[in-house]
Amino acid sequence: MKGEKLRNLSFFLSPMVIMVGLFYLIPLVFTIYISFTKMRNWNIERYLTEVVGLYNYQRLFHMFQHDPLMRTVLLTTVVFVGITLIINVFGGLLLALGTFFINESSASAIRLLWLLPRMSPIAVYSLVWYYFFHGSEIGTLNSILMKLGVISQPIPWGQIVPWGAWSIIIFVNGLVGVSFGMIVFTSALNQIPKELIIAARVDGASAWQISKRILVPMMKWHFLYVLTWQFLSLLTTYPHLFLLVQWDLISRDYGTTLALYVYNTAFGRGEQDQGLAAAAAVLLSILGIIGGFVTLKVLQFEKMIHEPRGDIE
């Protein structure tokens, strides 16, 4: 019996274990190792065995202190994560509440519309915003404002530092993140007993009063969940920023967050410095792991795992 169970378990679990081992555990060890080497330009033959100790970390901290470019990256990360997080959480909350109070068919159409940024290929999504914020008169925003007579010359939005560039990266990523909050909050709203709302309605409460007094207080847990989870995602997300910076829509300096900095340092154009990138990646992972634990605490993970039902033996 015991042998059979082991055979079964390895049949069901080994593909997952292999995948996780190959693409999470080994790479993680590799990344940590690279952060202790002088690896650059992926010259593996030359640098793979050249261990330099904490040199990359010292360099990184030195840059944090003295390199104005690195300080810009850190500042951009803080502003980007902070403001986008607020937009994601409250935008999601507003959309969920808004669609809760309207008829079901408009509500699901709106939900689908707001899933579009998350679902569309990143390249297409970036292409859309490339034209929307383009700095010449072909840019949609510029042409609208010029037609309205607000401005007479096209404005290169993404090159106005810092707030022009920041606004664009916050806007573009904000739209992607809003759908996450929207969905979590919508499913939370659907679990609230209808009787509570109907009773409040009968008593003459408005949608605003119902939201403020009944719905929002009942979604505290979901609120914390979306907040911590989105914080973690924003800290480490970079694909949407990558193309906007690559295409020079936004200023390179004020459009680069720490995650994008890691990617561009390791794989970008010109001089690549994988040792430094790996050191920064290790720092990000530590932040990620701390954030992950906080999320789990918020989620009350223990309660989520039920004992499996009906196993014989």
């Binding site: 079964n8 378990l9 679990l13 593909p15 996780v20 693409f23 999470y24 790479p27 993680l28 590799f30 990344t31 593996i44 109070f101 309207i102 408009s106 699901s108 709106i110 689908l112 519309l113 579009l116 998350r118 679902m119 290929p121 390249a123 297409v124 292409l127 859309v128 915003w129 949609t140 042409s143 037609k147 739209l175 759908s179 996450f180 969905i183 709302i197 309605r201 009968v202 949608a207 989870w229 973690l232 995602s233 480490t236 997300t237 990558f242 193309l243 690559q246 995650a259 794989f267 990646a281 990000l284 992972s285 990620g288 992950g292 999320t295 789990l296 993970f301 499996p308 009906g310 196993d311």
Partner: protein, 289 residues
């Protein structure tokens, strides 16, 4: 909301128009891209005169003519096919791995089960950028010496590596689907002497077809839309890297890029319209962004 009787009608249009107003940039941006793909010039500046209807862009896209002059060509059908290979590969692997693992996490007791689920959830929260440096080193270290294998290998590797990113969430999703099936269904099979593997294959899998479809769909979309992994690992071009490269290229005819972008958007829209409920449900799982 279903309590129609007591719902005041009059406030509704205010909410709808407020949301639509907020959605305007979104609608406008995507609409202009699709419209431009049918026009001689880009219509991003909202001038009706820049729109002149033509199917030329779409014809050129399929013929691979990148520029109006100069005869620069690229086989867009092959690029689309590459994108499709990656997407189907990711979808297949994610579905296989998560239906297997999801079953055992839902139904079998074993040591380390709890730890395994905790680890999966943590992995999903783990920063991808911290991994990609290591994933690339593994890629280089296992790179084949034989030149004829290189292209095949890069496809193989990008599919596996991209699928791995989706696995933590899809295993959790799949476990959730297995949890909803009453245990009695398999119980009868096991009493009759069928093995766990047989029960999984013959009784459980047919019962959770919607779950399998959802996971397969997410896997497909993940592979289809990926930019960073295909850019880093794949030698051949996909639609994502094609658009990435051509925005900056001097010779690019932009309405043609708009057509390629619209082509790239098509599966998303098709899934959108056919599988709305499935998508909305599945996405409440837990996602990054």
């Amino acid at each position: 909301m279903k309590d129609v009787e007591t719902r005041p009608k009059k406030g509704e249009w205010i909410i709808v128009s407020a949301i639509l107003l907020a959605s305007l940039p979104l609608i406008l941006g995507f609409a202009l891209l699709v419209i431009s793909s049918f026009s001689k010039d880009m219509v991003t500046n909202l001038s009706p005169e820049s729109f002149r209807l033509t199917l030329e862009n779409w014809i050129n896209v399929f013929q691979g003519k990148l520029a109006i002059t100069g005869g620069i060509r690229q086989n867009i059908l092959k690029i689309t096919l590459n994108t499709l290979i990656v997407a189907l590969g990711v979808s297949g692997i994610v579905t296989l791995v998560s239906t297997l693992a999801g079953y055992s996490l839902s139904r079998m007791k074993f040591k380390g089960r709890k730890l395994m689920m905790l680890l999966l959830l943590m992995l999903h929260a783990f920063p991808g950028v911290a991994l990609i440096v290591g994933v690339y080193l593994l890629y280089r270290l296992t790179f084949p010496q034989e030149p004829s294998l290189v292209r095949f290998y890069s496809f193989f590797y990008v599919i596996l590596a991209r699928a791995a990113l989706e696995i933590p969430m899809s295993v959790w999703l799949m476990k959730g689907f297995f949890d909803t099936i009453p245990w009695e269904f398999e119980w009868s099979g096991i009493i009759d002497g069928a093995s766990r593997i047989r029960v999984w294959w013959q009784i459980m899998l047919p019962l959770i077809k919607p779950g399998i479809l959802a996971v397969a769909l997410f896997g497909f979309l993940a592979g289809w839309q990926d930019l960073i992994y295909v850019r880093t690992f794949l030698i051949d071009q996909t639609l994502a890297t094609f658009i990435e490269a051509n925005i900056e290229a001097e010779y690019s005819h932009m309405p043609l890029i708009a057509a390629a972008g619209t082509l790239y958007l098509l599966p998303t829209i098709v899934f959108f319209l056919t599988a709305q409920q499935l998508l909305l449900q599945g996405y409440s799982g837990g996602i990054k962004g």
